[in-house]
Structure formats: structure tokens, C-alpha cells
Symmetry: C2
Subunit: 303 residues, 2 copies
């Protein structure tokens, strides 16, 4: 978990630029996918291989197919972005054989299971975009689409985001890293996790019972992560409630955050909810936890 | 993850010996607990503190209470065994502050979430017993009780166990380590995982969907575990089926085992099923995967 030598941003996009669509994780619903694809096709020129619609158990085709499609997209010097069709599960299976060292200056867009790819990019000092997958994009409101296009096309920092709760007041500055809590913990003890030293850590998840949130959070604690990061930004934790419980997932997350003593605000519109506002990973941010405000000090792309 | 200098076994038990009962993880049903307690009280003299029946969310009381109860039990030089009331979740929360370096030569008995304690003991070269928790013990048949008492009281190896399927034929010898797959993966990247080099790895789990089994298994792969261990012993994987799926959890586990190329047999009567046969962790075993047979080369206790 060494710090990368220097950070590198993707090149900015212009309307009609070539972009790739990949499916490195789970199989997906065709209608939701087409809605998202239509949205990006209004602005860019998307390409994808015929293997995109393959299905093998809980995967969008066998490893070789998914890996070849993703590798081809990452290496294409003509393309400016790589949009992920869906999360689910399966990206981390591909990590050992991806051509990350040779990839083009292209912007990877996705979240949830795609966190495995984001983290592997962060380990190599690459900026990427935590934002909707195509099956989610069509259900998101216009301001999410606009924020995504702006992030891809402008080197300016995006507007700040506001959360709904302060768990531990305080201010933290650092590079925004992380994403999905499950996937982050699944790279602990592997060569694919970035150093995380000095980072502001983004965490979101879906469908995890409170004791499982505690177990994953405790995994981060025992691995020393909370001694290395400077602040915590919590996105949505949907469908994380225990039936008939006297406590909520928010109660549990608040207790866990208090144990770390790190500045922490929650309820940011990031993750599996109705709003999944895109944010640049690997860029400098400022968290003011008392105000539940996340300010972006850099954009995601360079000219 | 250094190899321990030398391995140490608990001292053998004799009828009427003092034993402790602890609840380091989740709260539990009183009736099931009393049935298990009555069984061990027929043979030994069990002690427990009044804090045993506390409850805090999904934990059997707050960390301090559970840690104090467990620490007192582990340090008691008069006692010969420590029986866990139940698994669930919570043992790993206590790991950084347990007096493992100073513990008495006592036999820890439990499984599932208790795997966190077993692994931390293995990291210090301590033999322990993967076997029923008290809430499960009363539902187990007499031959499980007899095997447990024999393991605790005799330095001889226990009888071999037989599985139901060969996933990868081959023979492996090494120390038996591991236990619950979820908990094993939750210690990756932490100081509480034993070295695992040369081990025969035991894995079991309950209530994990096939893609989650794959995700945990892939975590072990990315962390290099399958390059270090010599063989794989799969116990029960109950309630691990996906609704309406064309594949079973056994299909998925077989594929994952084949990817490792390690000798692997499945269906051993170990885990959350009707039979949870106790086995000594940290002792030498021989797996003949073609015969689905696990032979024990040592007992769990010393004179």
C-alpha cells in the first residue's frame, strides 16, 4: 500500500467524443440499460462489444469475456470515458489481469461493485468518477446528468454537496477515496488497495444489515484504516435496516463514527438512492462535518 | 502474519474440572443456552458471570462487559476450558484488547463468529477446538457430545471424518486452520490472522448468497491465501442458495475450488448443520480429497 508517485487525471471530454460501455460485474436488465445508454448517446459516441449482454450465473459472462471487454476499453487511446453498465458483483475477480499500468487517460464512471476498479486506479494514482452506472442513470434526475457531463467536460471543481447529519464535527482536507463499503473491505490485505494515508474516505452501501455494517467497519478498524484517513463522508445506506429492531442503521453508523473520533458527516446524496451525485475520486476535497458540507478543490479532468 | 515459534496445546480436562462459559459475540435464546449448559454441567463444573445475559443491539452487552468476561475466563489458571454461548457477531470487536499472550492453557470451544478468536489464537500458536456453541450443543446428537468430551479429555487423535464430495482430488498434510469463511476474510489485512503457510484450510458458512461466497473466496485469492495453504476442507454451507437460480452454492464452490487447483473435498459434517463434529484447530491433519477423508494426526490437548 505505497503512495503513488504522482496523480494523473483523465483528459476532458467534448460532445461526440468516443466513449466505451463495459460490463465488468453483474448481468443487467436490458430496458434500464438502454435508458442510460440513450442518455449518454445524446452527448457522446458510445461503443460496446457484443459480449456485453452475456450472462454466466451472477456475472455478465465469464471472466475472460468481461476482462477482454474492459481491457480493450481502458487501452483505447481514441476514447475519453468508460461507462459501466451495472455493478452487482464481479469486477474484483478481474483485478490481477487488467492493463492498468498502460491504460489511456480515460475517465472510468461507475460505483458500487465498480469500487474495486476505482480503488485499483487510486492505487496507481489515477483519478476516476464515482457516479451512476448506466442501469441507474436513466432513473436519476436531470441535475445528476448535468453534473456528470460537467465533471467529464470541465477541469473546474464541481459544486459542493451537502449531507443531512453531523456524526463527529471537525474539518478534514485530503484526497477523496473509497466508495462502496463492502468492496473497500474486500480489498484489505490485497495489493489493489491504495495507501489511504491522508484521504477523506467516502462510504456507502445497500442491503447490509446493521451488524454487517459494524463487521465491515470493524474490519477497517482492525486493518488500521482509521489511523490513516482524515475524515469520513457517508453516502446513502439503503435497505440496511434490521426488521423489528429498536435501533437503526444510522444509530449504528453514528456509534462507529464516534469510536473513530474522525470528522464525519452523513446523508450525502451519493450511492444507491434516488440521487447519486457524481464525485471525482482521487482529487482534493474539504469536509466540514459540522456543516455537513463537502467542497471539491479540484475537477476530475485535465485539458 | 509470522509463523509462531512453537505450538501449544491446552491441558486435558477431567470430569468435574472448572470450565468457563462466555458470550463474546451475539445475545442468545435462554432455553437453547440452558440445554447446552445442562449438558456440560453433567460432566464439568461451569462458571459464568451475571453479565452473560446482557444485550446491546446485536451484541451480548457492550464491548467492555464482553471483553471483561472473556478475559477473566482466558486468564483463569484453575479452569480447563472456555465454552462460548453463541456466535452471531461481535468477537472480532474485542481482538485488540484480549490478554492472549498471558492466557492459561485452556481449551476454547466454539465456531462461526468465534472463528475470530480461534484465528487470533492460531496466530499465537495456540490449539483450540472448532465445535458447537452452547445454544447449538443441545440440538446435536450424542455422538457429537461424546466426540467433544473425548477431544477435551484425551491426547489421542479423534476419529477421521468423511465428506460427501471431491472437488479436486489430491492429498494434503498440514495444520488445520480457518473455520467460518466470513470471519476468516474479515481478518485479512489485520494483525490477527495466522500465517496460514502450509495449512489445511477449513471453511464453512451460513446464509451467504452464492455471489457473496464467490466474493469472499476471491478476497482470499487476491490476498494470496491459496498460494500459501495446501488443501481445502469444506464443511456445511447452509442457507446459501439463490432463489430461482439455475446454479447451486455447491456449483459455485466447486468452480472456485477448481480455480485454486488445491486438493479439496466438501460436505464434511462441520458447521451450522444438523451435525457439527468438533475438530482441533492448529493440529496436524491429512486430507485425502479423492476419498473425501480428513484424518487427524494429533489430539487437541496435552497431559
Amino acid at each position: 500500500m505505497k503512495a503513488p508517485v504522482r496523480w494523473q487525471k483523465p483528459l476532458l471530454l467534448r460532445p461526440r467524443d468516443t466513449v466505451h460501455v463495459v460490463a465488468p460485474a453483474g448481468p443487467f436488465d436490458r430496458a434500464g440499460f438502454e435508458a442510460g445508454l440513450a442518455l449518454i448517446a445524446q452527448r457522446y459516441s458510445p461503443l460496446h462489444g457484443s459480449e456485453l449482454f452475456e450472462s454466466h450465473r451472477y456475472l455478465a459472462g465469464e471472466d475472460r469475456l468481461r476482462r477482454d471487454g474492459l481491457s480493450r476499453a481502458l487501452l483505447d487511446a481514441r476514447a475519453r470515458a468508460v461507462f459501466c453498465a451495472r455493478g452487482g458483483y464481479g469486477a474484483m475477480r478481474l483485478l490481477p489481469e487488467l492493463p492498468l499500468a498502460d491504460m489511456a487517460p480515460t475517465a472510468l464512471v461507475g460505483f458500487s461493485d465498480i469500487t474495486a476498479l476505482h480503488l485499483a486506479l487510486q492505487a496507481r494514482g489515477r483519478v476516476s468518477i464515482h457516479g451512476p452506472v448506466l442501469t441507474q442513470l436513466g432513473r436519476q434526475p436531470a441535475d445528476v446528468h448535468e453534473r456528470l457531463f460537467r465533471l467529464l467536460e470541465s477541469p473546474e471543481p464541481p459544486p459542493p454537496l451537502t449531507g443531512s447529519a453531523t456524526y463527529v464535527p471537525g474539518v478534514a482536507e485530503g484526497r477523496l477515496m473509497g466508495g462502496n463499503l463492502s468492496l473497500l473491505t474486500r480489498l484489505l490485505g490485497t495489493p489493489f488497495l491504495p495507501a489511504l494515508d491522508g484521504a477523506v474516505l467516502l462510504l456507502e452501501d445497500v442491503g447490509e444489515r446493521p451488524y454487517r455494517l459494524d463487521r465491515m467497519w470493524t474490519h477497517l478498524r482492525l486493518a488500521g484504516v482509521f489511523e490513516r484517513v482524515r475524515g469520513l463522508v457517508l453516502g446513502d445506506f439503503n435497505e440496511c435496516e434490521e426488521k423489528n429492531a429498536t435501533y437503526s442503521s444510522a444509530d449504528v453508523l453514528r456509534s462507529l463514527a464516534e469510536e473513530t473520533g474522525l470528522p464525519c458527516a452523513a446523508g450525502f446524496p451519493i450511492g444507491h438512492g434516488a440521487l447519486n451525485q457524481p464525485v471525482p475520486l482521487g482529487t482534493a476535497v474539504r469536509l466540514d462535518a459540522a456543516e455537513a458540507r463537502l467542497t471539491f478543490l479540484e475537477g476530475a479532468v485535465s485539458e
